[in-house]
Amino acid sequence: MTALSDFFLRSMQTQAFRLAAASATVFLLVATMIVGALFWQTNTLLTDHVVAELHREAAELAAEAKAIEPEAFADRIRARSLTAGTSLYLLEDVAGTKRAGNLPALPAEIAGSPTGGVFRYARDGDAPGAKRLAVGIPVPVGPDQRLFIGRDVEAQSELAERIKRTFLWGFGALAVAALIAGLAIGRSVLRRVETINATTRSIMAGDLSRRVPVTGSEDELDELSRNLNGMLDRIEQLMSGLREVSDNIAHDLKTPLNRLRNSAEAALRDPRGGDAYREGLEGAIEKADDLIKTFNALLLIARLEAGVVEESAETFDLGHLVHDVAELYEPVADEAGLALAIETRDGIAIRANRQLIGQAVANLVDNAIKYSAEAAGGAGMRDTTVSVKVTAAADGPAEISVADRGPGIEAKDRDRALRRFVRLEKSRTRPGTGLGLSLVAAVARLHNGAVRLEDNDPGLRVVVTLPLPQGA
């Protein structure tokens, strides 16, 4: 019982039930109005018909009364009364004594009325107390007598009553059906919403792998479930990204911090004293500087990802900047025994943050030189060219490409290499922050551009595409 009442209570709280109930109510109201109007119309039509007929007869009788003697008129009334059917007659003298007709007496309801109206009367042979409905009007038949004629409308009234009852039963049944349908819908909706709620509760409790079931009915609730699942996928992805980020940050900062601490400790323990202290402190400062570099790179990537650099965009010549930055590395490439081929053209105007684009290009060229130098050192390589190019199609984006002959990145690792904060295992052991490529990707994203990694066969080619300003 409590379960049932509880179910009703919950059903009544569902949106579906409320909607069903509301629509049932509105439907009933409108239906009642329509039925009322119909009923009234039918009633008036029937009554009007009867009244018109009465008036016609009244006129006929009035004319007759003038033409013939009162006694003869009374006979006529008597004759009519015999074959009356639904017609009612009452002829009285001035004193109120009945002279002819099938009505026992003048009905009290319309006794004094000059226009007549509705009244009730009892027919001979009817059960005592049973009264029938009728309409009647007085007929002017001269000063010596009074005539009152009427029609029994009990049949019409009964018909109307039956129509009313039928309508009421019909609509009552409809209303109940609407409510039951509402409840049923409410119940099924409630059940599915409850499933969604249960799932989201367990997700809130920490089980991020749960998903809301999809029934396959392709309705709005399925769409809701799908959207919720999509959102959960995204959140889970972000969460695991975040975990990866914090793991990487921890690794990137803790390892050098530990090295810093180690070198300070080692210096302190060194029996040589003064000189060892100096060396140790110098080493510590160097390691602190490396830490600061890594920290700055991490912070910059984070801020770029958040898209907070906006005030410093300027219009500049991309070819010029790339050429300049690449040139900065020319002596370095030279010393490493590498050829640096710079191929840019002027006149590619771009609107961007010059420093960030410069930093990105510097990272790419720096990486290319480092990896090429390593590879060149290993086996006597024939081609050691690091090539830097800037191109722009007539209406396409500008492309900066930096290609080296180093070890490259395996196809399966390329996607990962560009993800924020990700460092490939191989790069962790190399000098530098190892965040270079992540930073390039972040800079490109900030400028609505993209980075792709290609095979330079052998080596790696990094292509940064940057959209040119519209109408340029």
Partner: protein
């Protein structure tokens, strides 16, 4: 040189005061923006070192107020906020230079010394000379002991900046910012390679080196040993 340090972190302020004193600069310290502003208004300083985030009145407002009042004392802004936008904001507020925390003391010292020099009305020198090294800014010719030296345009500008700050330490970052106009970290010590190339052109074959490496700080052009 008389320096005012406006910095709310007492340890940092104390470190700066002590270090600057050792470098021969008289230093006052203000612990918040309001005090710092009124000290800068009442006393004549050669340089102001202003932290960006200060209690009561932030660093940028202090600088803005001083500039509106016509105070042209060189200002070095210190900040933990280091990206390009922050720099632009700092310089727009009226700062002359911007240094991001954490920094090396040698970097800070080199920068304030360069700043105080810039404050001296620069009579457009057309010629820099250090020892027998001469740079003519009109003809863009460089000679050492009368012999012409061929320099690439970038090498010329590198030498020009070093000679303009002759006798003073110039850090790698200062070179990167002033000669290349790059405000980012080039990862590798590219500057060292450029300087050593320049050095081989101006010092090679001469007994007295003029371009010196200052350990842990940067470079200096100077006639005579360090």
């Amino acid at each position: 040189m008389r320096v005012l340090v406006i910095e709310d972190d007492r340890e940092t302020a104390h470190f700066l005061q002590k270090s600057l004193k050792e470098s021969g600069h008289a230093t006052d310290v203000a612990g918040d923006g309001e005090t710092g502003l009124s000290m800068a208004q009442t006393n004549a300083y050669d340089i102001l070192i202003v932290d960006r985030m200060l209690p009561r009145l932030d660093g940028l407002s202090v600088v803005k107020t001083l500039r509106t009042e016509g105070n042209r004392t060189p200002v070095l802004i210190l900040s933990a906020l280091g990206d390009v936008d922050d720099r632009v904001k700092g310089l727009r507020a009226g700062g002359d230079d911007y240094l991001t925390k954490p920094y090396a003391y040698s970097e800070l010292l080199a920068r304030i010394e360069a700043l105080s020099r810039r404050a001296v009305p620069e009579e457009q020198e057309t010629r820099y000379a250090v020892g027998d090294l001469v740079l003519d800014r009109l003809s863009h010719r460089v000679t050492r002991a009368g012999e012409p030296i061929q320099l690439q345009p970038r090498e010329y500008r590198l030498l020009e900046y070093l000679m303009k700050n002759a006798g003073q330490v110039v850090t790698r970052t200062m070179l990167l910012e002033n000669v290349w106009d790059y405000h980012f970290d080039p990862q590798t010590n590219v500057i060292d390679v450029h300087v050593s190339r320049l050095r081989s052109k101006i010092d090679k074959g001469f007994d007295r080196p003029l371009l010196h490496t200052v350990r842990g700080a940067g470079y200096m052009v100077r006639d005579g040993a360090l």
